[in-house]
């Protein structure tokens, strides 16, 4: 009852790890070229203050602070004896992640295109996706906002094709000096496909084509071809 063991709740504290290898090297900076300034001996404990990329800011029992790399950190142990493990991202995470985001660049009907996307995994194969793009052409500039679904054929493969389908809104600002330019907005629908390839850690490359159908106020719909290439990361 009163003597029942309490879990080591230290959410507000920094993580304590124990050195079980002969020593832990601490560098002066978060990079492979920075020299080793201090070593922590076997049996001593350290506190992990924060992480920057693959480097961890460490405080020793004597209060000295330095940087340890991920490979050294993975040799340390928790208070219960289990090994500490840092996962910077891998293929398994790439196949089963929940969120992803990224940036692409390309062209839509000859205009330069800059685009950002954010996706939520409904299943490993099916993602809901938001895309916001700006296009900058010689005759018009504007924005395209899309919401849609993406089906990834084989998320576990390093290189996998995908299909997209969705709808959106396009705002066009014609660049004309002859008549007063009027900003116009139209609903769009798109269908597309592309390839995604896992690179390293949490990053992947994505190349995509989309065919937009723009529902204009005239008798004919416009068709726009969009292609883009970029990179994304999952989290």
């Amino acid at each position: 009852m009163a003597l029942a063991p309490t879990p080591a709740r230290a959410a507000h504290e920094s993580l304590q790890l124990f050195v079980t290898e002969p020593y832990l090297e601490l560098h002066t900076g978060p990079g492979r070229g920075y020299p080793v300034q201090q070593v922590v001996e076997r049996g001593e404990s350290v506190r992990v203050l924060f992480r920057r990329t693959d480097w961890f800011r460490i405080r020793t029992e004597s209060g000295f602070e330095g940087w340890a790399d991920a490979a050294s950190m993975n040799k340390l142990r928790l208070a219960d004896g289990t090994r500490f493990s840092y996962n910077p991202g891998n293929r398994e995470g790439y196949a089963t992640h929940r969120w992803e985001a990224g940036i692409t660049a390309g062209s839509v009907d000859g205009a330069s295109l800059i685009s950002g996307f954010a996706g939520l995994s409904i299943t490993d194969h099916l993602h809901a996706e938001l895309t916001a793009s700006q296009f900058l052409g010689d005759v018009s500039t504007g924005y395209i906002y899309d919401v849609g679904l993406m089906h990834i054929f084989a998320p576990e493969w390093r290189l996998s094709p995908f299909l997209t389908l969705g709808t959106g809104w396009e705002v066009v600002n014609p660049l004309t000096t002859l008549t007063a330019s009027q900003v116009r907005g139209s609903q769009t629908a798109y269908v597309g496909g592309g390839l995604r390839m896992y690179m390293t850690r949490r990053f992947f490359v994505r190349a995509e084509f989309r065919n937009h159908e723009v529902f204009t106020h005239t008798n004919f719909n416009e068709v726009q071809d969009e292609w883009k290439v970029g990179f994304g990361f999952y989290f």
């Binding site: 080591a8 230290a10 959410a11 924060f50 928790l78 208070a79």
Partner: protein
């Protein structure tokens, strides 16, 4: 007859005493601690199996606190920008950096500068090619940076600060003179960290656009030099 009863009782008492000797009474555990290793006699059917000590404490549960990632930087830059054909003016920008690895980082910038007058406007008196609002140079860009010379700088004997010389290149958009153009940006910068959370930047970059603002399509180079500060989080 009497002797037979005596023999019977004697035999019975021998059997009972032998049985008592083989029994493990509760006080035997206290009275006779085992000091020497006991060899198990497999032939003895009456041997008691060794008692298993049940642990009285649960295994300690470790809640691993989340390690904070300080991969992002948010900051501001101030400096000057030379807007091609439109003089040099002050520029200020917001910057966001995300450090992907110790070598590469992603950067997003949003900035504003103020353009001046062209030489033609200066010389011809009252001619105004652009309104005041159109001389506002607004840009954003997204870039990839590479720390190609990481290192440390030293101030005196006791103070060392990590630093890096980096290159950066990206794409973006520029709004100027009533036009909005696609831009390519590239440059170089120097970052020094006086503390673990504070970063001081010196940056020089060219924001190039293709524009027909003065009649002919030309590539316009807009050079900016800034100093900035940002905080890691």
């Amino acid at each position: 007859m009497e002797s037979r009863i005596r023999v019977l009782l004697l035999g019975l008492s021998c059997c009972l005493m032998g049985g008592c000797a083989s029994l493990h009474w509760p006080w035997h555990h206290k009275a006779a601690p085992v000091t020497a290793p006991v060899t198990a006699n497999t032939d003895d059917d009456n041997a008691v199996p060794p008692t298993v000590i049940e642990p009285e404490v649960d295994r300690r549960k470790i809640t691993v606190p989340k390690i904070k990632a300080h991969d992002s930087e948010l900051g501001i830059n101030f400096g000057i920008m030379s807007i091609e054909d439109f003089d040099t003016g002050p520029v200020s920008s917001l910057r966001y950096d995300y450090h992907l690895t110790e070598d590469y980082f992603f950067e997003a910038n949003y900035g504003r500068a103020k353009g001046g007058k062209t030489s033609y406007e200066e010389l011809s008196g009252n001619v105004q090619l652009l309104t005041d609002a159109e001389r506002q140079f607004t840009y954003y860009n997204v870039s990839l940076g590479y720390n190609f010379l990481p290192g440390e700088i030293f101030i005196g004997r006791k103070l060392a600060m990590t630093s890096a010389l980096y290159m950066i290149g990206g794409i973006g958009s520029v709004k100027f003179g009533g036009d909005q153009n696609f831009s390519l940006n590239f440059g170089s910068g120097f970052r020094v960290l006086p503390t673990n959370w504070l970063s001081i930047h010196l940056d020089v970059q060219d924001i190039a656009i293709k524009s027909d603002l003065l009649g002919v399509y030309r590539i316009k180079n807009n050079m900016e030099a800034t100093i900035g500060a940002s905080a890691f989080f």
